[in-house]
């Protein structure tokens, strides 16, 4: 039973890790979701934004304050829903991790007295 739990936890960790790598590198679904600017630069060097140094959200000489020249001028963002989806994914991942960690910890605690009893 305990071995089965441990195996389940290891399997879950591997699946989560694989899902995380897949989501970051090339999932067509998750590519719509907000990907951190730094991760995007590392994982997809071709997707670098073409912002010049010193250039902000607005292109130079743009008179319409508060308007974006082009979506590409700003490096990141998958919109509000994209942010929400990313946040939900992080929360679910963290909750799963906490659950598995608690499970392992409880099993280790249960296992400890047995080890003491052994001759």
């Amino acid at each position: 039973m305990k071995n089965r739990t441990r195996n389940f936890a290891i399997l879950m960790a591997i699946v989560l890790l694989a899902a995380g790598i897949w989501a970051a590198v090339g999932s067509p679904v998750v590519s719509q979701v907000r990907l951190p600017t730094t991760s995007r630069a590392l994982l997809r060097p071709d997707a670098d934004d073409d912002r010049e140094e010193g250039e902000g959200y607005l292109a130079d000489g743009d008179e319409d304050e508060g308007e974006f020249e082009d979506d590409d001028d700003y490096g990141g963002g998958g919109g509000i829903l994209g942010n929400l989806a990313t946040l939900a994914a992080i929360v679910v991942g963290a909750l799963l991790f906490i659950r598995v960690a608690t499970h392992i910890r409880q099993n280790l605690r249960r296992k400890a007295p047995e080890a003491d009893e052994a001759p």
């Binding site: 907000r34 979506d71 994209g82 946040l87």
Partner: protein
């Protein structure tokens, strides 16, 4: 009386935290809102975060005092995560003020590109940190949300259903001519 005070505090916290979460999600999408809303929302967010911190000030003081002493592991983890989150939000707001183009223009000092890079990196990190913050407080969120949002909505629905089933008295006039 004390229970009512706690209940009010929970409701206040829930409303403020829901607002903060909504503001964060909207604030992280400047391409959707436009720069003016993004900047003013960011400045208001700073004020709301200060209020959030003040509402939990007692917890901060207690955990700071006992951090190296006897303390539950989860509280220590919470404290560390919250400290990082606080520094991250402070960095977002400060760098945001430095690169402001609409709300506080002309305050920027030093390299604008550097502030912008810092602002973006801190904003990306904030999403992950807030996700972890929510996960660590998930039980409280579920309980408070159920108590103040879900249950009232359900009771409202059932009240309407009961009302629609209510029997209406019908008067039948006796035909006297018979």
């Amino acid at each position: 009386m004390a229970a009512k005070k706690t209940s009010n505090r929970t409701l206040n916290n829930l409303i403020l935290d829901t607002g903060l979460l909504g503001a964060l999600l909207i604030g992280l999408s400047p391409e959707a809102t436009g720069l003016a809303i993004h900047e003013w929302l960011g400045i208001s967010f700073g004020g709301a975060i200060s209020l959030h911190l003040l509402l939990h000030w007692q917890w901060v003081v207690q955990v700071t005092k006992r951090f190296f002493g006897r303390l539950v592991g989860q509280a220590r983890l919470n404290y560390l995560l919250n400290s990082i989150l606080f520094m991250d939000v402070a960095l977002i707001i400060f760098s945001g003020v430095m690169i402001s183009e609409v709300a506080i223009p002309g305050l920027g000092v030093g390299s604008r590109g550097l502030w912008l890079d810092l602002h973006e990196a801190a904003a990306d990190a904030s999403l992950a940190l807030v996700g972890l913050h929510l996960a660590l407080h998930w039980k409280w969120i579920l309980n408070a949300g159920k108590r103040y949002f879900v249950n009232p909505a359900l009771s409202l629905l059932s009240f309407e259903r009961k009302q629609s089933r209510q029997t209406v008295p019908v008067y039948i006039e006796r035909d006297e001519s018979r």
